[in-house]
């Protein structure tokens, strides 16, 4: 135990200076520290993410400048939107990386949104997002969540809700088809059929956990 003359206080631990007034201490050392010294933590990926963000901004600015100098349409706007879409998808994926099924489900929603946006602003073959992309994505993701969760030994309760939400999301293409927004039937029908099969399977094989999960998530 050491003593600070200036403060009139006894100081525990092996330090040379008073933690309050920074004055020199008298008396004998304690053999051990009262608190461990904690090294600074530097966040992983931090610098990589920053470089990527910087390169994205440089790309957008260079494209805008070139576009302006050559006066050839508005193509740099498309570049800017594309970079924005990329970041929307990427930042969601990074934030939710610890929960794979949730991460995948969010990608379905975000990528569907991006597809709708591009379908609307680009002149090439309109309708591809509602006809092919969204039904295809939903149909692809249903088995993907199931297989990945099985492989990674994620408990049924943990990924159940995302399977249900994706199956529900898979009903939207049917809505596109019925309202005439989509014109090609087979992708939407396949997707909805697959979603309904998953529902039926869950009700038959995972009735109790499904009900418990719904009760938990929707309590008010």
């Amino acid at each position: 135990m050491r003593y600070c003359e200036k403060c009139g206080l006894y100081i525990a631990g092996g330090r040379e200076r008073c933690p309050l007034c920074q004055g020199a201490l008298g008396g004998a050392h304690d053999p051990f520290e009262t608190y461990p010294k904690i090294p600074s933590v530097y966040r992983q990926y931090h610098i990589v993410v920053r470089i990527a963000a910087f390169l994205s901004i440089v790309t957008v600015i260079v494209c805008a400048a070139v576009n302006y100098l050559f006066q050839n349409g508005f193509w740099s706007l498309f570049v800017a939107v594309a970079v924005g879409c990329l970041w929307a998808s990427l930042s969601s994926a990074i934030r939710k990386r610890h929960n794979l099924p949730k991460c995948i489900l969010w990608q379905v929603v975000i990528l569907s949104g991006i597809a709708l946006l591009w379908d609307a602003i680009s002149p090439f073959s309109p309708g591809w997002s509602t006809n092919y992309f969204i039904p295809g994505l939903c149909a692809f993701v249903l088995p993907l969540i199931f297989v990945l969760s099985k492989c990674m030994h994620i408990r049924l309760e943990e990924y159940l809700i995302y399977l249900v939400l994706d199956a529900l999301f898979g009903l939207i293409p049917m809505f596109f088809l019925l309202t005439g927004i989509a014109s090609i039937a087979w992708p939407s029908v396949t997707c909805t059929a697959l979603g309904t099969i998953v529902f039926a399977g869950l009700f038959i094989f995972a009735d109790a956990p499904l009900k418990a999960e719904i009760k938990k998530r929707l309590h008010f």
Binding site: C7, P19, I38, P39, E157, K216, R217, H219
Partner: protein, 424 residues
Amino acid sequence: MARRTRPAEWSRLDNIAKIFPPTTTARDPKVFRWSCCLYETVDPEILQQALDKALISFPHFKTVLRRGLFWYYFDASTLPAIVHQENLPPCAPLYDPTRKSLLFRVSYWMERINFEVYHALTDGAGGLQFLRLLVYEYLLQKYAGQFHGGAPVLDYNVPAGLAGLDSFQKYYDHLSQKKHKRALAAYHITGARLPEYRLRVIQGEMYANALLEKAHAYHTTITGLVCGLLIHAIHAEMSNLDQKKPVVLTVPVNLRNYFPSGSARNFFGIMNLHYRFCKREEPLEDILDSLNSQMREELTEEKLSERIHFTGWFERQYWARFSPLALKDIVLKQADRISKREVTGAVSNLGKVSMPEPLCQYIRSFEVMNSTNRVQVCLCSFQNRLVISFTSPFVKTDLHTHFFRALADMGIPVLIRANQPEEG
């Protein structure tokens, strides 16, 4: 699917706890720490066994926090609770919305056992019950051969079912709604903050009877004296312009002392103590007189029941119950920001800690501290050792110096323990 899955248990957050998840930030992770110092180096293996045993009585601690569509909820978890050597700053964040983890941690450093817990899970008094049980199991294991007249009995044995009960549900009828008066913005301590949102911890250990004697000499209680000294120390920092704003200290009150309950969940009320300075040199006596009269007024059963957190009211509004969680988060964040404007700091007296008599010889002291983004003073005593833990996120130590020197000037010997948040 051959694997049979038992429907997992889950529970709602109690009324006070609802405010914590939306307002948890890196700056204020809403984590508090109870520690127990022994007279010998802690044995990690025995501590692990003690933890496993203690968790049997507190099954609702083995949960993770999850988001539903309307409310947060605790979901039973099979994640293991592992003791480890202290390797994080005090009160480091526990709740991370992006990854599922238990809402408490048990660590050890030299002769100290630390129990850190997310505030949504329990309050200070509930957390203490867990640490007491943990230390009890540890000492019982370690000195198994020494108790000849049979093992000592811990007076607080929470029935496994009762510990998770929400006392607010039970007492809501008694507790009328708090009418929110709009108060003036309080004085806020400013200054450079420590890196990585670290917390500065400076603790003063002293004799409880010496402090109590001083408090009586000033005709006040220990809580009153500590509040007075803190206000006095804050005043020394204030400029003439700052003096226009009042200094407001939040003092949590353990409602278990007023409304009987054995719950280990959150069950506390809040009282705010104000002081407005008129002159440059304000004697400590004047501050203590004012605080005394305020405390007499606030610490009545009727007043306390008015002071229940507004979330009790919030939960009973239909528009609030059925609005999605994302919207509630925004509303509660905003409400918290407004109520924080009215507060300078907080003082929390957790009172006397008791342990079964045969175990006391192995225990040196108990300590408690809380994360904060202003200043927070927490104190508790064990036998005749009282520890005042001062936490703040600031680089400067003027406030602490003023506070502890004042105690030393009163003739109370104080032993300081401090962490070194800048180094490393």
